[in-house]
């Protein structure tokens, strides 16, 4: 009985699991990739995963605030991407590569 329910009855739990998987993908990217730009992409991925769960909660709890939060998150994600890319440009100008390890040289 449960087995068919699990596939046919889509509920909050499904969306949350999806969100978790996306989040884990993004985190794996942050942890493992060398390229700073790919790192930034992975962060976008994690933020999106969070957005999915926000919207799902908003839907199933019937509250608009969740969507407001998504709105804010998106804006901040865009801002973060802009700054991150600017830094990546700086790093590239100096080292001709955007390896994340070069950020170790940032001081002061």
């Amino acid at each position: 009985m449960l087995s068919t329910d699990l596939f046919t009855q889509i509920g909050l739990g499904h969306y949350l699991v999806l969100s978790a998987l996306l989040f884990c993908c993004g985190m794996a990217g942050v942890l493992l990739r060398r390229n700073a730009i790919v790192l930034l992409m992975s962060i976008e991925l994690m933020l999106n995963a969070v957005n999915v769960s926000f919207v799902a909660f908003s839907r199933y709890l019937g509250q608009q605030e969740g969507q407001i939060m998504v709105f804010f998150v998106m804006t901040i994600a865009a801002a973060e991407a802009a700054v991150g890319l600017a830094l990546a440009v700086s790093i590239f100008k100096r080292f001709r590569e955007v390896n994340i390890r070069y950020f170790e040289h940032l001081k002061g």
Partner: protein, 644 residues
Amino acid sequence: MNHPILMATLLLAPFVGFLINGLRYKRHSANLAGVIATTAVVISFISAILLVVDLVGLPPETRVISVKFFEWISVASLKINAGFVLDPVSAIMILVITGVGSLIHLFSIGYMHHDAGAAKYFAYLNLFLFNMLILVLGDSLPVMFVGWEGVGLCSYLLIGFWFTDDQKAAAGMKAFVTNRVGDAAFLLGMFILFLSFGTLTFSEINQLAPTDPTLAWMNPVTLGTLFLFIGATGKSAQIPLYVWLPDAMAGPTPVSALIHAATMVTAGVYMIVRLNPLFLAAPNTMMIIAIIGALTVLLGATIGMTQWDIKKVLAYSTVSQLGYMFLACGVGAFGAAMFHLMTHAFFKALMFLGSGSVIHAMHEEQDIRKMGGLKKYLPITHWTFFFGWVAIIGLPPFAGFFSKDEILAFAFFSPLGHEALWAVGALGATLTAFYMTRLMALTFWGKSRVPKDTHPHESPPTMSIPLIVLGVLSIVGGWIGIPHVIGAILPGHPENFLEHWLHHSIKPIPGLTPFDVTTEWVLMGVSVTLAICSAFVAYHMYVQAPQKPEKVAKAIGPVYKVIYNKYFVDEAYFAGIINPLVKASKGLWYYIDVNFIDKTTYVISDVVRGGGSLVRSLQNGNIQVYAMYISLGLVATLLFLLVR
């Protein structure tokens, strides 16, 4: 004038001189530095005279000027003031110190004029006088100890003044280390006295000193005085700590005159005189002092007979004469000790300065075998030295006669004395006459043995004036203490001025009966006759028959060798004390310090450093690894929440 101001001037004038010369020692020329230093000391001398004049004006019973500048130490019951006290005893000392000091400073201007470090030399000399004045004027043992250490320091600096010569630097070190041994004993004595009396001020200790002499050895009075005496043997070059004084001759000759003849080495005697009621309460200590003094008289005199270095002879003579002072202290004749201290300061400073003049004239030659017949080249030096000579061998009516004779008389008559002590003293006087005559003969008389390329010349007036003044003092200096037997037959019956002067500062010897006049005359006659005979023998041996001394030396072969090598005392000290100490210290250094303490600390530091590098690898700057920590933390948090 105001006493505190005078006292401050007296003390601080040399210190200011030290600062002026010491801070600018590279820029001052020798003459300028000398004038500054001498002026400072003369100012000090003038204030000393003014103070003593004031002191004379006071009634004899309360003849004390004490000045307290500030409270120095105040811990529980221990209260020590930076206080200074002028009484008849310290009055003699400050007059000698600043007076002889001024003359020696004046002499130094001529003696050091060619030396590049003259300004430094004068700075040290002034610092020495400052400390010496603290030593004699201090109203408590700790204040005295400050000066005591200060003069030790200056002595070290001045002995090693030509420190580029390793031997001279080593001599300075020897003096310093030997004095440390004595100073440790001095400190112990101070502790014992503080424990039993609860005070360290001279006047209070002297008041509290028991009136009944105690014969117990483990009595605090006996032990305290004994330790203080050991301290005195260090500073005043007595057996067993005299070894530094002959080596101290490595310093410039005026230093030997000032520090190692006239002033610093008498500090031990002065300290005992200062505490005379206390020492009188400890007859055991007094006995030891007398015996040590008598032995030192003999030791110094015998070694002095065999030395060839003009300054070494004088150094051993100083050791011997200091022995007389301790002999006097030991038999309770503190006044006689002070008297001899003063006359000795005059004639020994004179002789050291004279030897300085000779050395200066001989271009730094000190071996008396290469002198002889200097009388015609150095007339002033010779005649002043001559008066020093008659003073020290005890010819009446010169200074040494009166003081030495008083000591011998007390050694005979005092209840604390003994006939044997008198005999040793008289023998010492005989030997003194011998070696001083030998020195005179080899240096000034007889045939000239001066090398051909040396042209002796008389010294400049800055050097000869002090010689003349001290020569006069060596003649008349003894007249302030003319003994009663002689005073009685002299026209006008001069009184023993010194005895009156010191009357209230010095406790009379208990049980002393008036001297028997006939015996005293006999004793006096015996010692003078012996001295004159021995002087004639020496004159004969070294002037008329120069080959004889060698024969005598051969005849008594082994004895001569032992004496010539100073009884092998230095060698014995090295074998018995210094080498074992050095070996033990090396062992401690190698096995305890290097192999245990150092290694332990290294292990500790290695552990800490290893731990640090372990932790450091966590913080390596790799952002992704940081992110990993965050995710691990997240995992742990979630795990905690789920399990709970």
